[in-house]
């Protein structure tokens, strides 16, 4: 088999398996073929467990025994099938790093902490290029400059611990590109980073792919990212490629039921306010016991008996658009029409008049201690002068990047910590500095859902006792029968089968665990629920189920939500009002629609433009504000406007004075001198 002209990498029928128990193997990748042309950026998209990372690691022969890779991999400039050489062969090693470089998800752990970054870059150059150590150092410093690291001569001799997450990912890119590879694989390379940093890194990769003549494979779960940055897309599900093609064709007319489902399940920034997400029913596939036919069969809305007759091949639907589905586009369209299962609109909201929660000038500082005597040497201003109002039945979204104080704000409202100054009125009572005894009856009325459904539930408690604990602590039920009835009611409310009561958390999937967390928060009939990144740890298809559940619960129970997240699309989808925070301060607040249509603050604009939407055409027409630099540390905040160090429009006044929130009508407020002038 020979490679097509101008193909750089060609993988044919990759099958990767890992032992599960004595007789069975997990087929993580089940016959994946893909190709990469010179100068191309390809996206490999899928949810967790789809096999996307394993595929890219299989191509590089990074799968360690007892894992096993079968298939064929051809690389431009190398003779024959690379897999036959073995992972430790001279040939395989010259491809790894030399022809194909890879950067990984965790920038914090992917660099060796005990070696200088310069050494780690230089190491790659010396392995693959015939240069002296001196030249390698110069090449490394050169590359560090290209990836945007200031003062590279000095930083060459620093250790990874001296770099921020975004900077470490730049070091990784420099390390990979310094050896002049043809291909860069970015495996979830920006997932752990803040939104604006993510945009910076991807733009850097996009630019470098042109200047350094490198093709890129972006491996990600984020459909928006590939819509914006990739040229061609492969969609994976259960170890198979289910659809592939040019991004414009694919986003304009997705054909595989899974791709269609994914696109309907993710919230988009440009959605109309009342669009209801359409979740993909069922659970993500488990790699053991996958059927020999279509892996998506169990969850597919359009399934038919003939789907089970065997694995169907990828078929060309024209224009290099390949789909692995027995049903033709017309058949699916016809079924779609007959089902008419338009999810419709979000249930109607009844927003009350009287505010349930009112926060005024809230301030939270943490002292910094130094030395043996633990002398106080300063304060971290985590939350600085924050005010807002939430009405019954309303959702207030709080967005911001790391260090913006959103989690501290949540802790203050929960009174897990006592704010330094300001007021928190709950139903008119100020709870900001209330004594524990007075607070006790109110505690159960403000509850919280946490980010990580895996670590926020006690692994030894049964689901029943997790959900029932608040009932017992607050003596809300008087008899065993009443308690049981209430538990069943709560389980049904969040869409869990009450017969699962006696199970422990590890017997549930991520989405189900989050449902348990929600049931726990609901147990005491709260008035306010604080949701701290409740869906960010979940797969997109599951995310939609939880968002819909939260929306339903809000309308039936008239709950007020404070919804904290970094994902702007999700926040915009669920919120009525949004609060944008930066370094502890509110920089802008507005009704959700208004904020998206008419952002005022430069940070809001940058944040919005950093989030791609899953429609490449529409995305290209959006105004883009690119930020330089990184979020300053809260220990070292700018003296004027918190955003002044990164703002493209910052003036001397911005650097000296802190702008106050000003009203701009339509419920919109922003803290920016620029907007004041324009008014």
């Amino acid at each position: 088999m020979t490679m097509k002209a101008n193909d750089l990498v060609q993988a044919v029928d990759i099958r990767t398996s890992f032992p599960f128990d004595k007789n069975r193997r997990v087929q993580a990748v089940d016959g994946v073929s893909l190709e990469l042309k010179r100068g191309e950026i390809v996206g490999l998209v899928g949810e967790s467990g789809s096999g996307k990372s394993v595929t890219s690691m299989s191509i590089l022969q990074l799968i360690l025994p007892p894992g096993k890779v079968e298939g064929e991999v051809y690389v431009d400039g190398m003779q024959g099938n690379m897999l036959t050489y073995g992972p430790q062969s001279e040939e395989a090693r010259s491809v790894r790093g030399g022809k194909i470089g890879m950067i990984f998800q965790e920038p914090m752990t992917s660099l060796n902490p005990i070696h200088k970054v310069g050494f780690q870059i230089q190491e790659n150059i010396l392995t693959h290029q015939k240069v002296s150590e001196e030249e390698a150092k110069n090449l490394a410093i050169d590359m560090m400059r290209k990836v945007g690291i200031a003062n590279p001569e000095m930083r060459y001799n620093q250790y990874p611990a001296e770099f921020s997450g975004g900077m470490r990912q730049r070091i990784m890119i420099a390390m990979v590109l310094a050896a002049k590879p043809d291909v860069l694989i970015a495996d979830e390379a920006t997932t752990a980073l803040d939104v604006t940093t993510q945009a910076q890194i991807l733009e850097l990769i996009q630019n470098l792919s042109k200047t350094e003549n490198v093709s890129v494979i972006i491996v990600t779960h984020n459909l928006g990212l590939v819509a914006r940055y990739a040229d061609r897309i492969y969609v994976m599900y259960g170890g198979n490629i289910v659809e592939s093609g040019d991004k414009y064709t694919m986003f304009a007319s997705p054909q595989h039921p899974y791709t269609k489902g994914l696109l309907a399940a993710v919230p988009r920034l440009d959605d109309r306010k009342d669009r209801r997400l359409v979740p993909i029913e069922g659970l993500p596939p488990v790699a053991i016991n996958l059927p020999p036919y279509c892996k998506f069969y169990e969850r597919c809305k359009y399934r038919e008996d003939r789907c089970k007759e065997g694995m169907c091949p990828l078929s060309d639907r024209g224009n290099q658009h390949f789909v692995r589905c027995v049903l033709s586009a017309e058949e699916v369209a016809a079924k779609e029409k007959s089902m008419a299962d338009d999810a419709g609109s979000v249930p109607e909201k009844h927003i009350g008049e009287e505010p349930i929660l009112k926060v005024e000038n809230l301030k939270m500082y943490f002292p910094i201690y130094r030395g043996v005597m633990k002398r106080k040497v300063g304060e971290v201003h985590a939350v600085e002068d924050v005010s807002f109002v939430v009405h019954p039945g309303e959702t207030l979204g709080v967005v911001g990047e790391s260090g913006c104080g959103k989690s501290t704000l949540a802790k203050c409202i929960m009174r897990a910590i006592t704010p330094v100054d300001g007021h928190i009125y709950f139903k008119g009572q100020d709870i900001a500095r209330m004594k524990e005894r007075e607070l006790k009856p109110l505690r159960s009325k403000i509850t919280m859902i946490f980010q990580d459904p895996f670590s926020s539930l006690n692994p030894r408690q049964t689901a029943e006792s997790i959900v029932g604990e608040p009932l017992q602590i607050n003596h809300l039920t008087s008899s065993r029968a009443e308690y049981d009835a209430r538990i069943n009611e709560l389980f049904e409310l969040v869409g869990l089968d009450p017969s699962f009561r006696t199970r422990v958390p590890r017997e549930f999937s991520g989405g189900q665990r989050q449902r348990i967390g929600i049931a726990r928060a609901l147990a005491c009939n709260p008035d306010v629920m604080i949701c701290d990144e409740p869906v960010s740890a979940l797969d997109v298809s599951i995310q939609a189920q939880i968002i819909n559940l939260l929306e339903d619960l809000q309308s039936s129970l008239n709950l007020a939500y404070v919804f904290i997240a970094h994902d702007l699309s999700v926040v915009k989808h669920i919120s009525d009002r949004i609060l944008v925070m930066y370094l502890g301060r509110v920089v802008e607040t507005a009704p959700a629609e208004r904020l998206y249509d008419h952002p005022l603050h430069p940070y809001t604009k940058a944040l919005l433009s950093a989030v791609p939407i899953t429609d490449p055409k529409a995305d290209e027409n959006r105004e883009r504000i690119k930020l330089s630099g990184e979020i300053p540390s809260v220990l070292n905040r700018p003296s004027g406007c918190p955003f002044s160090t990164r703002c493209p429009y910052a003036t001397d006044r911005c650097r000296k004075e802190v702008p106050k929130l000003q009203d701009y009508g339509n419920g919109q407020q922003a803290a920016c001198f620029l907007c004041e002038k324009e008014r």
């Binding site: 470089g101 992917s110 005990i114 070696h115």
Partner: protein, 314 residues
Amino acid sequence: MIRYIGKRIAQTVIVMLLVSFITFLLVSVMPKDPVYSLFGSDVTPDEYEVLYKRLGLDQPILVRYGKWLADILRGDLGTSYAYRMPVGEVVGKKIGVTMYMSIVSTLISFPLGMLFGVITAVKRGKWQDNVFTFLANIMGSIPGFVIAIVVLWVFCVQLKWLPSSGFAFPWEDFGTHIRTIIMPMFCLVLGGVAGVTRQTRSSMLEAIRQDYVRTARSKGLKENYIINKHVLRNGLVPIITLIGGRLAMMIGGSVFIENVFSIPGMGALMVNSVNKVDVPVIQVCVLLTAGCISLSYLFTDFLYLAVDPRISLQ
């Protein structure tokens, strides 16, 4: 960096002071009358009064502690009740023996244990791993004195190759040194090697599955190079912690070995002194042991500094 070193030294001094005070306190409440112990039980009540005052026993405990500490710092370690001679002379040679045994056995067992640990980790699941790990588990779980008795029976009683007791420093009589030290050293080293092997194996395996090792592999580096440059140093950081603890254990644990082979070391001395309630000797022994252990912990902390750049960054 210099601040850190200064801080650690200051901490060590504080710990030593605390240990000395607590041992002084504990020993001073022991049910043994120092006057009768020192001068025999035929002291008359009048003489007792005088001697009691001369020893300063009528003064408050803090004052006595201050005096004792000042004496020790001046080099006067007191007089042993049992031997009726200066404590310095009683303890001096014996601590030398024990320190020599502990340090030499640590110096042998660490490199060996680390070597076996690295082999078992790198060859995980292969026969080398199975054999060494199996042996390490067996040897690690048999108490040292059992091995000592078996060894003694085989080489001394049956084969009559080696003497059953005695000790000489190499600079005194090299031949006797080798003959007397082989068996006790073997017993001390065996347990040490087993422990270090197991620890090294697990911390190496931990280091091998770190993300940065995957990064190193993705650069196309050779596997041996990856182990040397990227795994070894990271894997050995936790082993450094062991050195301090191991040294301390050796000093304490040598009691059994010293008894079995009749080596005149600290272990035997301490047991005897406790039996005889030889207060001054016990105090000095405890103080010296605590000193050795504190110093070895200080030493390991400085080793950390050399191996892990993150510590000096903080």
